[in-house]
Structure formats: structure tokens, C-alpha cells
Symmetry: D2
Subunit: 145 residues, 4 copies
């Protein structure tokens, strides 16, 4: 997958820095490649649900941003990306020291891009376990010339 936007990495980093929710929850961008984006989120007790696990909505928040930016890396310069829809299966309790979501583009289209994100918990021994998976659709809104 070849990027149409030569400064895709800088553009993703700039846009990510403009998402206040990412700084509220403490998420950081850890990888940006054509069609692939990873976001890391250290566990914090104030992000949990009633059993102390990361709330499924927080798992979704980082995965939705990762999917949007993965789609964005393959769009022309000046595009805006919005989420159309996503579906998340929660596979295991989101318990861990840290979480990483890895989004990969499955199909990039002129208007719609389909992306998958896998979310892993990382324990004290750096072992990764899949805790959730998202399948979603992103739309690119392109600037008119």
C-alpha cells in the first residue's frame, strides 16, 4: 500500500496531538506506517469499569483512533477521516499493565476504507494477549481543488 500523502506520518502525529481525549486517557502514538497505526495505553485505575478492567469503551476509543489514522495514512494530502461504523468483540478481560491496539487497513477505497484493529494486553513479563478485535469502516472527506 503506497501512501499518496508523503507527509502522512507528520500529519497523523499532528492530528493525534489535537485529540484532547488521547491526552485525557494517557494514550500515545507508537507506530505510523502506510496502512498501519499502533497506539499504546498504560493502565490507569480511573479508566476502569466496576471490576477494575479497562472499560470496553476505552478499548474502543484507542482502537477507533488507530483505525482512523491507519486509513488516513493511505489518503491524499488534506483529507479528513471520520468513522462510519465499527464492531468490537471483547475476547478476554482487559487486565494488564499496558495495552496496545494495532490497526491495519484491509481495503483502501477512494471513499471508504475498511480497517481491523487488534487490542493486546501486556503483562509484567511483556507477554501480549489479544483482548479485543475491531472491524470498522472509515470515510475520507477530500478537499476540493
Amino acid at each position: 500500500m503506497n501512501p499518496l500523502n508523503p507527509s502522512f506520518a507528520e500529519d497523523v502525529a499532528r492530528s493525534f496531538a489535537q485529540q484532547p481525549i488521547m491526552s485525557l486517557i494517557g494514550a500515545r502514538l507508537s507506530l505510523v506506517e502506510p496502512g498501519v497505526v499502533e497506539i499504546i495505553l498504560p493502565y490507569r485505575a480511573d479508566l476502569a469499569q466496576q471490576h477494575g478492567y479497562l472499560h470496553a469503551g476505552v478499548v474502543t476509543t484507542i482502537s477507533d483512533s488507530a483505525c482512523g489514522y491507519a486509513a488516513f495514512t493511505l489518503m491524499p494530502s488534506g483529507s479528513n477521516v471520520l468513522s462510519v461504523e465499527f464492531k468490537v468483540n471483547l475476547l478476554r478481560p482487559a487486565q494488564g499493565v499496558e495495552f496496545v491496539t494495532r490497526a491495519e487497513v484491509i481495503k483502501a477505497g477512494r471513499t471508504l476504507t475498511v480497517v481491523r484493529a487488534d487490542v493486546f494486553r501486556i503483562d509484567g513479563n511483556k507477554e501480549r494477549t489479544l483482548v479485543a478485535t475491531m472491524q470498522g469502516t472509515m470515510i475520507g472527506l477530500h478537499q476540493k481543488a
Copy 2:
């Protein structure tokens, strides 16, 4: 839909108060009836994505909790509820003074419960506009006698 747990409303309120993420984002429980739960979230700039709209993950966070608790209202006393999966369609930009998500049980089963949540933005004139809709599956883990 008749509740099996006579203290469902108190149990939902107690569990909601034990979800630290709800207090981090400023969400509050506004309605708990058999099979129906509403959660209100006032807009805050630190919950936004890069265009200033409420992040789709935050829309999901309140809807997932509302769906889980709507399912819980129809479960036996002492049940725990977990999300199996959900799908969200984002319909309009989540711009507004306040948001409300209303979750309603579609089918309550012995193990699995299917729930739908509609998310509305509320503008300065108290007008409600649908911004997202979730269709999800919750699982009840029941205490053994």
C-alpha cells in the same frame, strides 16, 4: 419485561458509582427502569477528537455502560454483566451541549441479552438529534447457589 431482581435500580446505581471511567468523563445515570437505562454526558472539550466533536469512543463508552446496565436490570440478583460485542454506526457529528444515550433491551435470554442504544445530542434549545446507534450483546454471569 419483569425484573427478577427487586433491587435492580439500587444495584445499577451502586455498580455505576464503581465505574471510575464514568466519573473521569463526567457521565451520570439519569434513568433506570426494567430493560431501559439512560446515561447523560455533558460536553467537555477534553472528550473531543481533532474537530472538537465528542470522540466516537466516548459515545461508545456511555452506550456500552447503558447497554450493560439495561441488560442487568432483567437479570437475577447477584449477576455480573459483561459485554460480548457491540456495533456502532456514527450518524452525525457529535456536537452539542449535552449527550444522552438510551439503551433498551431487545431480547433478554438466560445467558445472552441483546440491547440497542440510541445516542442523542442535545443543543442549547433542548432539541434532541440522533448521532449514533449501538446494537450489542451482553452476557450474564450468574452466581452459583
Copy 3:
């Protein structure tokens, strides 16, 4: 919801007649209104899965067509409609004399339209029971002038 295409009902009927799969399974169009389409499918043993229930894929087949045509009723003349994605929750065994799926547009957009379909089984006493529900996204491909 006001139709942009004054001959939407004839156009839906013509397109439906051009879907060979509908005649293979014995489905018929039973209602076409702006934003709403119903399709009826009598039970047949050769549409079943291993327990004799209507196969979930057949439930999906009629619902996907109903969703596509419901979206189409609100599109400009000469549009083509394609499915982007759909999600189906299976709620009860699809046992019955006849099935009806009712699709309703939730949000019609210029490009994307979100539709929901509820599928009911109809027993010998004409009672309707919800057996599945679909939430999907349709895309309109519009003719250039």
C-alpha cells in the same frame, strides 16, 4: 422522508425482479414506501440449516435486499445501491410458516444510508415474533449528469 425519485416504487419492483436469488428462495416484495421496505419469505425445507430452522444466511439475504431497497427509495433517480456492511443479531430460532423482514432507514445521507431491519417469524396463527435484527450501511452510486 421525502423521496427524490418519483418512481421509486416501480424502480424497486423492477430491480427486485432482477435479483435471481429472490426467485430462487421464493421471496416477494410486500411493501415499498419512502424509507421502508418489507419482503416476505414463506418457509421451505430447502432453505434450512441442520435443525430445520431457516438458515441465518437466508434471514440475512432477505434483510440485506430489504435494507438496500429501503435506502434506494430515498435516493435520486438513476442511483445504484450497494451494501457496505451489515451486522445481524440472531435472537430466536427461525422456525415458522412464513417470515417477513421490515427495513427502515435510520439516517439517509448523500453518500451513505444507515438502515435497520427486523425479521419476524409468522406462525400458523399469524402471530409475529422477532427472530433477528440487522443494522447496516448502504452506499448510493449516483449517475453523473
Copy 4:
């Protein structure tokens, strides 16, 4: 993934032969391994929608069966499997000489199993192109001792 049921392959083949819809559409089981099932469907004009592509519901029908049987391969002897829900993204027109859906278990649980299926069209040169992807949840109903 180790099968709990030593005769899983025979059991899948027997159950598949009991799905009348598979013979109606001309689908055949082409691979059964622990956690993985493939189904092949030759194109037929009577399985198409109005543009001559395989109907999305037919794509779903073979994928849902493949997902159910992939889950079944990892269940104890005597289990029954039912679909809880699935979500399908349609990526490209389903045009081709033949189609194959490949389902793989992502997470096998005691009650619920999450499965993904990728659907490929195969053209005259045997080239495979991804046309759709399904993410779904299956439930195992186990015989009581």
C-alpha cells in the same frame, strides 16, 4: 487449538450434509481442521443480485456456516452450535468463477467462540481476491451428562 472431539471432521461433514441450503446453492465443504473450515461455492447466475454479482446474503450464508463449523471443531462431542451474531464488510464486487470462504477461530471459549471468515473470489486464472470479511460469535450448546 486442540480438538476435544476426536471425530470433529466426520461430525462437521455429517452436519454440513444435513444443511439443505448448502445443496440448494451448490456449496461444498473443502477443508476441516481444528479451528479452521473452508467452503467453496461455484458461481451460479441464480445466486446473483441485480448486477450479476453474488448476493451479499449468499456470501454471508457460506461464511456463517463456515464460522459455525470452525467453532464446532473445537467443541466437545455432542455439542450443537448456533450463530449469536455476525458482521460482514463487503469489500469488492463478488464477481468470479468460484468463491471460497475461510473461517478461523480467533478465541474459543467454554460458551462463546469468536470466528473470522474471509471470502475470496477466484477468477479464471485461479487468482484469489478478498471480497468480504465476517467477524462473528457462535454459541455452543453442550449435552448434559
